[in-house]
């Protein structure tokens, strides 16, 4: 009898100890494989969305009346419009700060696990590592353009940058780095990513980065830092791999429907602005209008006009999806931006003819067939002015205007912004400290990092 009992005990013990390894929930995975990493980085809600504050603060839109402004549902939207000193006014878990850091956490998690694995010469794993590095840098760049000063080599070593979280350890809280360190980190991540990523854009998965995307991002970052020679080098590298432009004459315009797909041929890397501040950025209602002086810049035969905009119920212009199916503004990397960067850099080094050549290559695809006449300029500075204007017209609503305003003002272009709110005029002076948005208070309280002085 006793033997029987012992046998029973042992049988149970043996039978169950293996079972104890079973997962309690089949949907939960500890990521290990290439497929696991891909699925994590394919989370476009986290990794392919960008903050909206840059858009909210820039001069591409207006709110038609005090009434409309009063009816806005959240305070950040109202305050960012008039460049209030405190824009959050008690609202917490500010998405514009939290979401990019969530993306950074995803990338760090993948990088930390890969660190423990032997990547060796596994091209798939190398690509994953490049993807994570690229996406991390992309998120840091989104943050730095909102929450830090414009890059100025003279002060970058003392200006405040971002807290640089480079590991997934959530217990490790970091303080703000210098602006120089932040940019160094972004650039070094993208450079490493450029080595690891496969060259071509994956034509049906444009949420994933490629070498082209890495170069395009470097071009964008260097341009914002006003390091124009580097910007031009990387624009060239990207254009060499991917020079394709989309002829807007081939697009159809249907009311209420996007003219694009998620895989527009110009898209190098897809990101979109999060659906946070819809009322003032892409709602179908009358709560905002595209800046009328901007609208006035488009010529009669400019196809961007019907494709990018539509009239709303009170006669103002609202936004249609660009390089996107959803109405969220596209903020990713695209070839049109590369042409404009290349043209601007050429103009800046007085290569007027060549600059206009690049510009016209782009504009040709934006104007009705047969109606295109190449743009001419008096001199290089005139060309630069034209290119900068075309930059506004082409890259509308991509969150690049805010960084452009910052860098152009730093070089003395003296662009003053104004909002008229029921007769009350709000102004944003060039190089004002209000160009640097405040860090959400809950972050400052919990991690003790330095708040921006505005």
């Amino acid at each position: 009898m006793k033997k029987l009992i012992m046998l029973l005990f042992v049988a149970c013990l043996f039978g169950c100890s293996k079972e104890l390894e079973l997962k309690p929930d089949s949907t939960i995975i500890v990521p290990e494989t290439i497929q696991d990493f891909e699925q994590l980085l394919d989370n476009a809600e986290v990794l392919n969305t960008t903050p909206g504050l840059a858009q909210l603060s820039a001069d591409e839109y207006f709110i038609p009346s005090l009434q409309a402004w009063n009816s806005l549902s959240n305070l950040t939207q109202r305050n960012a419009y008039i460049w209030n000193k405190d824009i959050f006014q008690g609202e917490s878990k500010i998405w514009d700060w939290a979401a990019p850091y969530a993306g950074i956490f995803y990338c760090n998690s993948v990088l930390d696990i890969l660190e423990l694995q032997d990547i060796g010469n596994n091209p798939a794993k190398k690509n994953i590592r490049g993807w994570a590095l690229f996406a991390r840098a992309y998120s840091y760049y989104s943050l730095v353009s909102i929450f830090a000063k414009t890059y100025d080599p003279a002060t970058a070593n003392s200006d405040l940058g971002l807290p640089l979280k480079l590991s997934s350890d959530i217990k490790k809280i970091v303080q703000r780095s210098t602006l120089q360190e932040t940019y160094d980190s972004i650039i070094s991540d993208v450079l490493t990513a450029a080595d690891l990523l496969k060259a071509e854009v994956t034509t049906d998965k444009r949420n994933r980065p490629s070498k082209v995307a890495a170069y395009a991002l470097l071009a964008r970052v260097y341009l914002s830092m006003r390091i124009y020679d580097q910007a031009e080098i990387y624009a060239d590298k990207a254009l060499l791999l991917c020079p394709e432009l989309l002829d807007y004459n081939t697009l159809t315009v249907l009311p209420g429907r996007s003219s694009f797909t998620y895989n527009s041929p110009e898209t190098i890397y897809f990101t979109q602005q999060a659906a946070k501040y819809i009322e003032t950025t892409f709602s179908s209602s009358v709560s905002y209008g595209v800046d009328s002086s901007l609208i006035a810049l488009y010529g009669a035969d400019d196809l961007r006009m019907p494709i990018y905009f539509r009239k709303n119920a009170i006669g103002n212009y609202g936004l249609r999806p660009i390089n996107n199916v959803a109405p969220n503004p596209f903020t990713g990397l695209a070839t049109d931006e590369l042409y404009l960067i290349k043209a601007e850099c050429l103009a800046r080094r007085k290569q007027k003819e060549e600059a206009l050549l690049y510009l016209n290559k782009l504009l040709e695809k934006r104007v009705k067939t047969g109606a295109f006449t190449p743009v001419m300029a008096l001199d290089a500075e005139d060309a630069l002015q034209i290119i900068l204007t075309e930059r506004r017209k082409s890259l509308v609503w991509r969150s690049v205007r805010w960084t452009d305003l910052k860098r152009l003002n730093l070089e003395g272009r003296n662009i003053k912004l104004e909002r008229n709110m029921g007769g009350h005029i709000y102004e944003l002076q060039p190089n004002s400290p209000l160009y640097v948005l405040p860090i959400p208070n809950d972050e400052v309280t919990l991690s003790g990092i330095t708040q921006n002085d505005r």
Partner: protein, 1153 residues
């Protein structure tokens, strides 16, 4: 404790002492079955105050006697006790000496020639003659039964023989054969709390005298006091230490029940439910309460820690009914019908239609609706529509006024009452058959429930079947038992119930024709709906009155098989093994036809119209949603039971065992579009799940239509080793110890962390058995002391970085995952360390009895929600790092105030419980977080359910609320919210009552019994929600209180605390006001929980075994509040925004054949 003893013990009677309050002196009352003679003598000694001396050798252990004396002299009690034992007594110097009786030859001879015949008649206190009462010659086992007239005759007696007369449901009595027996009156046995003397831990049954832990046992009568399909709900108001949580904040991780307060923060807060010894994984509603014999609540460590890591929140052990050996077939039929009225819709305050119209008018003039109006498709209320038309010159002012006046008179609640609600009717019936022979027992039952709910679309029905058998073989050494239970339940309801968007919604016109209203979740404008698609779309109007039928059915099917064997290896050792297999199929099936708005809306949304061509992404037809859930649970237990009595004074009981459980749930969800119920075809193949289909009305919006089925598996495996030893010395001192080691498939924890040893130690001292004990007025007094560790787990956290695949695809058709857990290498089990000191007592000759328990629970390593700075990428993180402490007192007091023809008995339960968080690693960062979100990061030193508020001052002369900032009056709401200084907050107290309990008064007279249960909850707070804050208006927000009392003109600030209407909306002001001290109320209240009136009936023509009484009863619950602290008419059990259950009345019949 052996299994067999349990069975015999189920008929042990309580020490029910029947004595006259006015009669002083040494009167003895003792009613016991199969009690050792030694204990009987001890009891007589205690009650009489005489020392009783005897020789252990003469009083052998095996001499168990039955005794039933009430209010008799000591000598009479001694005679009864020593009857037939060849023992005699002497009283010398106030001491009683027991000695052997010298039997004379004459005595021996007369024994053979007893010639006396006793005749008598037995009736109850009302004079009803009792049929088949048992008359037994004490000490011989000879029995006769009374006839239909209550008469009996017993021959061959001596005049000094003692007859014991018993009848189930009545107190057994002893009479002298020589006395006048013509009118033997039996008095009714009254069942009060704590009347069962055996407690079950699920592993073993322990006689209460040997238990050291804190148990509460609820017997069948109390369980059936209330009606209802759920056994746990029936415990409310009758169970010491158990609270059914009601009115707690929805954010918190609340459990349905809590035993002795809360001992976890974010981990599993549910109480473990054990059914017939095995943790119950199924749905609680699948247990028919009529099949339940008793429920035991295990409260402290000694009681519960045997259940290991799942015992941290207490354990509820449910024991099913079984047949009894050597009993004839008994049948019991019970049936109950409960009716209750429609709910009181006026309970929830709302802005009146005319006020709401004025509000809309005001907002309209300020441009509040302009954005919405500019979207052609977006719903605005009929009033806004009228105002807009007036503004656009489409209608005249007169016309507009007339239409608005019409709206003023409408109140949606009238239509809701008329069309959506009906009185509730619940019907329950159950039949069971039980009995047993020499070597077997059986119990079979069938139950049927049918509930018609208040909502016209909702209903429930349930069928339960049970069969249990046991057989003894090998001359009683082996007992084999087997149970089969089956239950099937259907819940029908409506998936998309109508939620009024406006206070003046109308469901039907005066002729009863259905009217279209705004759908609160889709919100399309009627004007748009009427014209969109120019007739090519399906009807897009929402007419709730046309959709008053269920479209969702939840079906649950459960079967459970249990097999057990119990083998007596030797005199002291038994082996038992149990196996249980449970399978539960739960199917949720929603069939949404084209006659419903839900389906028409989805189809229209994904329709594209190009000229005359209509193309629908979703094919025409029904949308069928099916979710199938299958739970398979297996449990096995092998246990050794050891029991030994050494030289009469040392008693050892031990169990040791191994147990394993494996519960797996498989879920399969599938949606079918274009479903045709006639031939079971569907149109899913025509849908491209990767494609973005444009929305018909919202420009640029599009959506993917997922058609894939989703599958999940959940696996819960535990294995445990456990043991429990108890040692009693002389039945005076008891020591108990238990140890348990659990292992489970907790995710991502290394092997060591997966298992945890938990233990308990306990001791009990029966003071009243001590020789020095002299307190005659406290005949029974037992002290208990225990300490131990219980555990708890949270299977949602993980030690590794873990991600979850959500089954969605991104716009590039790639499946993706999200991170649900950052890595947490130091994850470990939660532990609850519990102290308990208890005292069981009986007072005034057991006229009063009960227990007092004092406890303290220290919960450590609790999983807390830590708030992290956003730079980590995670805003909240769950990990060990919190501790709580809870303390409490539980008092149960049963008393028999009058115990005569008219009886009055009371049971009083008093519970006191407080808890506080003693350690929490991460602190809140703002006062606003403390006030709104204290459950996520509780403040050290305060209860988990602490209620804080912003101290508020009166309104200012613009109607703006005012608070305090750094001691000064302030309207800087943002600063008040953002400051981090708990000292500037007002702490009110806990949201969970500090004191709660019940008082049950039971009266009986003749065959009637009336029982009234009054419950109370004291010292706790709640926050009023849905109060007008000046800014919390907007679409659909009309269920607000205080709107009419709002500040409207200077001077109002002296009479009201409700702010003025502010435009533009000021969210910071609104948040301040809604969380200010002005809206915190005391929850204290006393309620009349229920009343039950029972009439017992005797069936005089029934079969010989009909020993049980039948009864009919009336029962009423939700009788309302007797007293409440708040003056606002709010029922704190439901809160301000849930309609309380209306009065419900039941009538029922229990027939015993």
């Amino acid at each position: 404790m052996s299994f067999r003893l349990v069975k015999s013990n189920t008929i042990i009677f309580v020490v029910l002492l029947h004595c006259n309050l006015l009669a002083f002196g040494q009167q003895i009352t003792l009613v016991k079955n199969k009690m050792p003679l030694k204990d009987v003598l001890d009891s007589i000694s205690v009650q009489s105050g005489y020392g009783v001396y005897y020789n252990h050798k003469q009083i052998s252990a095996g001499s168990l006697i039955n005794i039933a004396v009430r209010g008799v002299s000591m000598e009479k009690a001694l005679i009864s006790a020593l009857f037939g034992k060849n023992l005699y007594y002497d009283i010398i110097d106030g001491n009683v000496i027991i000695k052997p009786k010298n039997i004379s030859l004459a005595e021996k001879v007369t024994g053979y020639f007893k010639s006396f015949a006793a005749k008598g008649q037995v009736s109850d206190d009302n004079g009803y003659k009792l049929f088949h009462a048992i008359v037994e010659l004490k000490g011989s086992g000879r029995q006769v039964l009374t006839d239909q007239h209550g008469n009996f005759t017993m021959n061959q007696l001596d005049k000094n023989d003692i007859l014991m007369i018993s009848f189930i449901g009545y107190e057994t009595q002893e009479v002298l054969a020589g006395d006048d027996l013509s009118n033997i009156r039996m008095s009714r046995e009254v069942v009060v709390l704590n009347n069962v003397e055996i407690v079950s831990t699920g592993y073993q049954d322990i006689p209460k005298e040997r238990a050291t832990g804190a148990f509460t046992q609820i017997g069948e009568k109390l369980l059936n006091r209330s009606v209802g399909i759920n056994i746990i709900d029936r415990l409310e108001g009758i169970t010491s230490g158990l609270l059914l949580n009601k009115g707690l904040p929805p954010q918190a991780n609340n459990s349905k029940t809590s035993i002795r307060g809360r001992s976890t923060l974010n981990a599993n807060a549910e109480t473990l439910i054990v059914l017939d010894g095995i943790p119950y994984d199924g749905t609680i509603d699948q247990i028919n309460p009529n099949d339940i014999a008793s429920v035991t609540i295990l409260k402290d460590a000694a009681a519960a820690s045997i259940w290991g890591t799942r015992s941290g929140n207490g354990v509820i052990v449910i024991t099913s009914k079984k047949g009894l050996k050597n009993s004839k077939l008994a049948a019991a039929l019970s049936t109950t019908t409960t009716v209750s009225n429609k709910p009181d819709l006026n309970y929830i305050p709302q802005i009146s239609s005319s006020d709401y119209l004025l509000l809309e008018k005001d907002l309209f003039s300020k441009g509040f609706y302009d954005n919405t109006l500019s979207l052609q498709y977006s719903a605005v209320s009929p009033a806004v529509e009228i105002m807009s038309k007036l503004r656009n010159g489409e209608i005249t002012a007169d016309n507009a006024d007339r239409q608005l006046e019409m709206l003023k008179t409408q109140d949606v609640r009238n239509d809701l009452r008329r069309y959506m609600y009906r009185p509730k009717v619940y019907q329950q019936s159950q039949l069971n058959l039980s009995g047993g022979g020499e070597n077997n027992t059986y119990y079979m039952s069938a139950g049927y429930d049918k509930n018609r709910e208040n909502m016209v679309t909702n209903g429930y029905d349930r069928v339960t079947l049970n069969a249990r058998n046991s057989f003894s073989m090998l001359r009683g050494r082996l007992e084999v038992s087997g149970d089969i239970t089956f239950s099937s339940a259907n819940t029908g309801n409506k998936f998309d119930i109508y939620v009024p968007a406006l206070p003046y919604d109308r469901l039907a016109d005066d002729q009863g024709n259905s009217l279209a209203v705004i759908n609160s979740s889709v919100r399309l404008r009627q004007g748009y709906v009427d014209t969109a698609g120019k007739g090519k779309l399906l009807d897009w109007s929402y007419r709730p009155k046309d959709e008053l039928k269920p479209n969702q059915n939840n079906h649950q099917l459960q079967y459970k098989l249990r097999a057990g064997l119990n083998y007596k290896i030797s005199k002291d050792l038994r082996l038992s093994a149990d196996y249980q297999y449970l399978k539960e199929h739960a199917g949720n099936r929603g069939s949404y036809g084209l006659d419903g708005f839900y389906t028409r809306n989805i189809i229209n949304t994904y329709t594209v119209i190009n000229g005359d061509e209509v193309s629908r992404a979703i094919p025409l037809g029904e949308i069928l949603y099916e979710s199938k859930q299958e739970l398979t649970s297996e449990a096995i237990r092998v246990q050794m039971n050891f029991q030994k009595m050494i030289s009469e004074v040392h008693e050892i009981n031990a169990i040791a065992g191994y147990e394993a459980r494996d519960a797996r749930t498989h879920i399969n969800n599938q949606i079918l579009y274009g479903y045709n119920p006639a031939n079971l075809t569907n149109g899913n193949n025509g849908i491209d799940p990767t494609k973005f289909y444009p929305h018909y009305y919202q420009p640029f919006n599009s959506g993917q239509i997922s058609t894939a089925s989703t599958l999940y598996n959940y696996t819960d495996i535990t294995q445990s080793f456990y043991g429990n030893v108890s040692y009693s010395y002389d039945r005076r001192y008891t020591l108990t110890a238990s140890l348990r080691k659990d292992q489970s498939n907790l995710f991502g924890v290394n092997a060591n962390g997966r298992s945890v040893p938990l233990f308990s130690l306990g001791t009990a001292w029966d003071i009243s058995k001590e020789s020095f004990y002299q307190l005659g007025w406290v005949p029974s007094l037992k002290l208990r002391l225990t300490y131990g560790h219980n555990g708890n787990i949270d299977k949602t956290v993980s030690g590794f970085l873990s991600v979850q695949s959500i089954g969605f695809i991104n716009p590039w058709a790639s499946p993706y995952t999200k991170i649900i857990n950052p890595p947490n290498p130091s994850l470990r089990w939660e532990k609850v360390k519990t102290w308990n000191i208890g005292l069981d007592y009986a007072l005034l000759r057991s006229r009063m009895s009960g227990s007092i328990d004092v406890y303290q629970k220290n919960a450590v390593d609790l999983i807390g929600n830590n708030i992290l700075p956003m730079q980590t990428g995670v805003t909240e993180f769950r990990g060990n790092g919190a501790s709580t402490q809870s303390k409490g007192i539980e008092i149960a007091l049963n008393s028999k105030i009058i115990n005569k023809e008219f009886g009055w008995y009371t049971s009083l339960l008093v519970n006191y419980n407080t808890d506080k968080v003693t350690h929490y690693e991460v602190k809140a960062s703002t006062n606003y977080e403390i006030v709104t979100d204290n459950y996520n990061n509780p403040l050290i030193g305060y209860p988990y359910y602490a209620l804080f508020s912003f101290p508020s001052a009166s309104l200012d002369n613009t109607g703006a609320p005012r608070g305090y900032l750094n001691g000064e009056l302030s309207k800087n709401y943002k600063a008040i919210a953002e400051i981090f200084d708990p000292g500037q907050l007002k702490y009110h107290g806990s949201v969970s009552p500090n004191y709660f309990g019940n008082l049950i008064n039971t009266f009986n007279y003749k065959n009637f019994e009336l029982s009234i249960n009054i419950g109370y909850k004291l010292k706790y707070y709640f926050r009023r929600t849905d109060v007008f804050s000046g800014s919390n208006y907007g679409s659909g927000r009309y269920q607000l209180s205080g709107y009419t009392e709002r500040w409207q003109k200077p001077g109002d600030e002296y009479t009201t605390t409700i702010p003025a209407l502010f435009y533009p909306q000021n969210p910071n002001m609104s948040a301040f006001f809604l969380f200010s001290s002005a809206l915190v109320e005391r929850g204290d209240h006393v309620r009349l929980q229920d009343i039950r009136l029972t009439k017992y009936v005797f069936n005089k023509r029934s079969a010989a075994s009909s020993l049980k009484r039948s009864s009919v009863f009336l029962y009423a619950s939700n009788l309302g509040i007797l007293w409440r602290k708040n003056k606002l008419g709010i029922d704190p059990n439901y809160g301000p925004s849930v309609v309380p259950q209306p009065l419900s009345c039941s009538i029922g019949l229990n027939l015993n054949l």
